[in-house]
Amino acid sequence: MEPKVKSAMQMKIQVRKKKTIVAKDRLFSFLFILPSILAIAIFVYGFIGWTGYVSLSNWNSQIPDFSFAGLKNYVSLFHDFRFQADLRNTAVFMILFIVLVLGMGLMIAVFLDQKIKFENLFRNIFFFPMALSFIVTGVVWQWILNPSTGVNLLMKKVGIEPMWYTSVKVIPGVEWGKIQVGIPIAVIAVVIAAVWQMTGFSVAMYLAGLRAIPDEVREAARMDGATEFQIFRKIIFPLLLPITISVIIIMAHISLKIFDLIYAMTGPGANFVTDVPGVYMFETTFRGNYYASGAAIAIIMLLSVAIFIVPYLLSNRKGES
């Protein structure tokens, strides 16, 4: 940009030119994202709408039947033993999974943050399972936690032989609805595998969070005579809270959607102790031809995920602007 004085005429032309360029670019910018917008509109929102429509229909055989059934499919789901068991299992899985991933993740992150030797090696050991597929995890852990083959061969020596994912016990197993409410032992086995795979995520998040806290903050607190424990409780933890919330939400939505791990590792299990909505939806739709029931399960899954995700997305948006 040369600071030359231009004639009024020239200025006008240039401004007009720029305006048309800008308008053209605006148009192109829309064209850039148009395919994606259309794809998302159809494949996400349109298809969800269609699934909702199927869930209200009578399509429960090989042949499509779109006659209106009202909420029949939903009502019968909530009276269904298997679906009630699914809700229990998902809730138990979600809570155990989140608590363990958060706890282990924070602990390991703090350990790794102690300026230790071989930090890279340790980090990689905790991170690498994330690069694996849930199917691989399921295949391997199915074997490790098989009561007659795996880890029990070692535990026998200590005198305990848990039944792992073949156990049908629910603790405490209070009768409620059609099912026993409590913690199914078998779910714990699946949680162990899932935690093994996903702990790396919270380690990475927490480690990034810890590294982002400037040393001066700690130093200042130390100068004021705070103990290490107090520094942790009063300064570090509050600063890590947003990360904790992010991890909780990500893990919660993974728990609600979980399918591959359970399908590969245990299947629905005896008495449906390890069944989850994802597996039920898959089997009832594509194996039993109950399309409308399957669609209803899918919609319930979507709504439960939305409860966590929508506020999260909205708050992220607010935080930005």
Binding site: M163, A270, R287
Partner: protein, 424 residues
């Protein structure tokens, strides 16, 4: 640097589009429905795949002008294939001919949906009406029309036992429920698992239950269950449920982590004494575990079912809306011929559906079973979709899965009644 990067990106994009292109070529070749005779099945296991290939080879020799394609779908003991089939049929893109179990799977499924053409003419031309048992033809017929050609027969009501265990303990293979429980108690007292079950996939337990139902109700009343002439709160059904429950007291502890092969393995290796399974287990004993018929393992019919034959039959039919009907007819007539059946079945390890096949091509088990097949009453299997539509089977499987753990009889009967309310 910038240019290089841009060039690289464009190159990768071009490459990826190219890959997409190559792929659609590949796909259109295999998915095409032009004039190819695509034979749709789930025969991808060891013996059955050989059988199918031999059959196709024989067909090619006889009809070299027809282009045949083996469109078998692997995985999930047929469940994957059924899902693909359903999706192809919904999309009006049926395979030229497809494997379907005789009974409800055919009749209440594709025939009821108006997707199949009757084969009465073919049966008449080939003179098949007295070459297959009448009860078998009934199984592939609806409203007087015949809709498919049975290729093979498997028996579902077989009790396999470890010969050495029985000999060592001086036991005889049980023929009635009373004998079964007597034997089981003796075995249990010796610390041997009497009955092996592997219900990781729930149909195995359903199959055990249907054999108990058959043994308790007898073939007539058993068949009436599926036509709603006998209800599931009939006292005899309740008795069967009690017996089933009692049997569950003798099974291996880790049943829910095993599949049927793993359960058969327990018997094969002498870790359990008995196993109730369809006669495909024989193939597993002989081919995979290298055991000898009548030496390492023996068999009897399940308690109370000596004169019945729980049949699982694979059949092929003629879908509507295909272009190469004539070729399909040629294939079907080969399938139903003695030559076709004797080519396929010895390899697959099943027996032929025809009653006039050549016994010398089959092993000891096959020969005896062929003999019994001619005399026995034929009953449709629930676990394999012959007795009731897929939807009912799914619900019964769910109910059985719950019952195996909870053993609540009243609740089980209720669940069965709910499932049966969907019977047509």
């Amino acid at each position: 640097m910038k240019k290089k990067w841009f060039a690289f990106l464009s190159f990768m994009l071009a490459l990826s589009l190219l890959l997409v292109g190559c792929n659609s070529d590949r796909a259109s070749k295999s998915g095409g429905n032009g004039t190819r005779l695509d034979i749709f099945s789930w025969w991808t296991g060891a013996g059955e795949e050989d059988g199918l290939k031999a059959l196709i080879k024989l067909f090619k020799e006889k009809h070299p002008e027809v282009k045949v394609e083996n469109a078998a779908v692997a995985g999930g003991a047929g469940t994957n294939a059924k899902a693909v089939l359903a999706s192809r049929m919904q999309g009006n893109d049926p395979p030229a001919t497809f494997q379907v179990h005789g009974g409800a799977e055919l009749n209440d499924g594709w025939v009821a949906a108006g997707k199949m053409k009757p084969l009465n003419e073919l049966y008449k031309e080939e003179g098949w009406n007295d070459k297959f048992p009448k009860e078998l033809i009934d199984l592939v017929s609806k409203d007087g029309n015949i809709y498919s050609v049975p290729v093979n027969i498997h028996r579902g009501n077989v009790l396999w036992y470890n010969k050495r265990i029985f000999k060592d303990n001086g036991l005889k293979a049980p023929k009635t429920f009373a004998e079964f429980f007597k034997v089981a108690d003796q075995l249990k007292a010796k610390g041997i698992t009497p009955l092996a079950l592997g219900d990781k996939e729930p149909w195995t337990a359903t199959q055990l239950f249907e054999d108990v139902l058959l043994g308790t109700l007898g073939p007539d009343d058993y068949k009436k269950l599926w036509t709603k002439e006998v209800s599931f709160d009939d006292p005899k059904v309740k008795e069967a449920v009690k017996t089933f429950k009692k049997m569950l007291g003798y099974i291996n502890k880790d049943h829910s982590s095993r599949n049927w092969q793993d359960a058969s393995q327990l018997v094969g290796k002498g870790e359990a004494a008995m196993n109730i399974m369809g006669d495909w287990a024989k193939g597993y004993f002989v081919n995979d575990l290298k055991l000898k018929v009548n030496k390492d393992f023996g068999w009897v019919t399940t308690p109370g079912t000596q004169h019945s034959f729980m049949v699982i039959t694979d059949t092929f039919g003629l879908p509507k809306g295909i272009k190469n009907e004539d070729d399909v007819m040629k294939f079907l007539s080969l399938l139903g011929s003695v030559e076709g059946q004797d080519t396929f079945n010895p390899l697959k390890g099943s027996i032929p559906a025809r009653i006039d096949a050549d016994p010398s091509k089959y092993d000891a088990y096959g020969r005896l079973t062929m003999k019994e097949f001619k005399k026995a009453r034929i009953t449709p299997s629930l676990a394999h979709g012959s007795a009731a539509p897929e939807g009912v089977v799914t619900k019964v499987n769910n109910a059985v899965n719950i019952f195996v753990t909870q053993q609540n009889e009243a609740q089980f009967i209720d669940a069965l009644k709910t499932a049966a309310s969907e019977l047509k």
